[in-house]
Symmetry: C2
Subunit: 315 residues, 2 copies
């Protein structure tokens, strides 16, 4: 059950391991906005929240404390477009657990290097996240490692929902929250936290419209995976667990073109000195290109959710 | 008179124009620290605080409001290693005022481009900040533009002191505040704000020891200008106005080698996804290389004060 209570419990569980990221009140294209600087999180994206909540809930504990005896000796295994893999590797490293991470062959070098830097085994396989996931499951059947799904698991969703909890704590005045969506872990958690008390708006690249298409179809459906932000937002289909939450609590599903994402990356550097990866800049892009126009009186929050790119690419 | 009252007045005066930058509680090299993310300020450094306070105090107002009739038609003029020039250009642009900015010939291209992007006239002249300042004063005698000194002016110091005021508001528990020093505008303002209620520690590159040398000599003295951070911390001599404040309220003057500054830049990117220029990473470097070792029970704050570099250079 994903609700404010399970998200608050996740927040307590993971608080020693993650950063309470700050907010910045500023203007974006002349509009007052509040940015949640989640790109300053450990491992460069929001993903460690869900990864730590999953590992700690399963019984892995800080080295020195006794974990449950029934935990798999093989540690953890995950498939990822990159950010989730880095987060699982980081969390596993922090908790003294082995990690094996499957990523598709097109994963940016910066992300592969990041995952390896945390001591995880990296396996590059398949053309897409979905194919890497299939390969990881075959491997998991051999090793019996704990699978840490990138989005479709209650503990992962509750962990990502702590982004919403912090955002509301630090900026309780917000009426509209823009969140990028891929598999839907972040937006599912955030929407479950707000539960209608603020309008949560999903923003996806035109090339990766998984939540937009699911909401239109009335169920998760296969969607195209392409464009600039595919490595972080390129799930073929949103998670089954998040979908009913999105149906209830996601007010609009906006699509943005890749050139608006590039413009948002440039603006975030030029006006804020923030390095956001394409997926991290996607929510802001909706404001820049006018695909989301705040109604009069709206107080808009934007989650800037990832920075795992080569910084030379943002200028 | 530079004191908490003049700094609070500056804060009111400039609040509509500058960002209240956030703090981030985190670990740096295993030590708990609170980072003041002043590198996210407009124009990429703390400098707009002093620039706006100077321009607004002199009578320049937002376009549409009537400025004092006796303001110079030539607008403002400033000499700078780069960041102050960008800040004055940004402030002048915001207030609809002409600006002419003198920078030494070695100023990084990123900073020259930034100054020009705000519509200012840029003059590259001389080998050092001191030479650019001399040239700007010859020009000022012709144009009668308002000089905005980079550090040695009460309104500039009071503006920079608002960094300390915000830091204390957001992290009142801090006992030690690490601040980089060049001409001493930032550390002078911050030390005047804390006025001994927290220990303010100056950090300078070994190549630019102007405050360290002044405190040892008992007066501002000429010091070498060299090394990686010279473009932002390379004043030949600290300001006359800040010096008595530093004598009273700066507890230690630490020097760090350039390789520690590079290591701090890399760590800020690697662990925080922050792009700091060398001068912006200098305060953090003192912790990394052990030139400042916090006493037991200390709660350490670090001002990360500038980001005006090519982001490709930090990885």
């Amino acid at each position: 059950m994903l609700d404010r209570k399970s998200i608050a419990a996740a927040a307590s569980r993971i608080s020693a391991y993650i950063r309470h990221t700050p907010v910045l009140r500023a203007e974006l294209s002349g509009l007052p906005v509040t940015l949640k600087l989640e790109l300053l999180q450990h491992a460069g994206s929001f993903k460690p929240r869900g990864a730590f909540n999953r590992l700690l809930s399963a019984g892995f504990q800080t080295p020195g404390q006794s974990p449950s005896a029934d935990l798999p000796a093989a540690g953890v295994i995950a498939a990822s477009g990159g950010n989730h893999g880095a987060a699982v590797a980081y969390a596993a490293h922090s908790l003294g657990v082995k990690a094996e991470i499957f990523v598709p062959s097109g994963t940016p070098a910066a992300k592969v290097a990041r995952i390896a830097s945390y001591g995880a085994q990296v396996v590059q396989i398949g053309e897409s996240y979905a194919e890497a996931l299939t390969a990881s499951r075959i491997r998991q059947a051999e090793t019996a490692a704990l699978e840490v799904h990138a989005y479709d698991h209650a503990d992962v969703l509750a962990g990502q929902g702590t982004v919403g909890r912090e955002f509301e704590q630090d900026a309780p005045e917000l009426t509209h929250i823009l969140v990028a969506a891929g598999g839907g872990g972040l937006i599912g958690g955030v929407a479950a936290w707000y539960a209608g008390s603020a309008q949560v708006i999903s923003v996806e690249p035109e090339g990766c419209p998984s939540l937009h298409d699911a909401l239109r179809a009335g169920q998760p459906v296969g969607a195209p995976v392409g464009g600039l932000a595919a490595d972080s937002l390129g799930a073929r289909q949103v998670g089954a667990l998040m979908f009913p939450i999105a149906q209830r609590f996601v007010g609009q599903a906006v699509l943005v073109p890749d050139d608006a994402i590039v413009a948002a990356q440039r603006l975030l550097w030029d006006q804020f000195r923030l390095v956001a990866e394409p997926g991290g800049a996607t929510a802001a892009a909706a404001l820049l290109c006018g695909r989301f126009v705040p109604p009069a009186g709206a107080r808009v929050g934007v989650v800037v959710c990832g920075a795992n790119t080569d910084p030379a690419k943002v200028v």
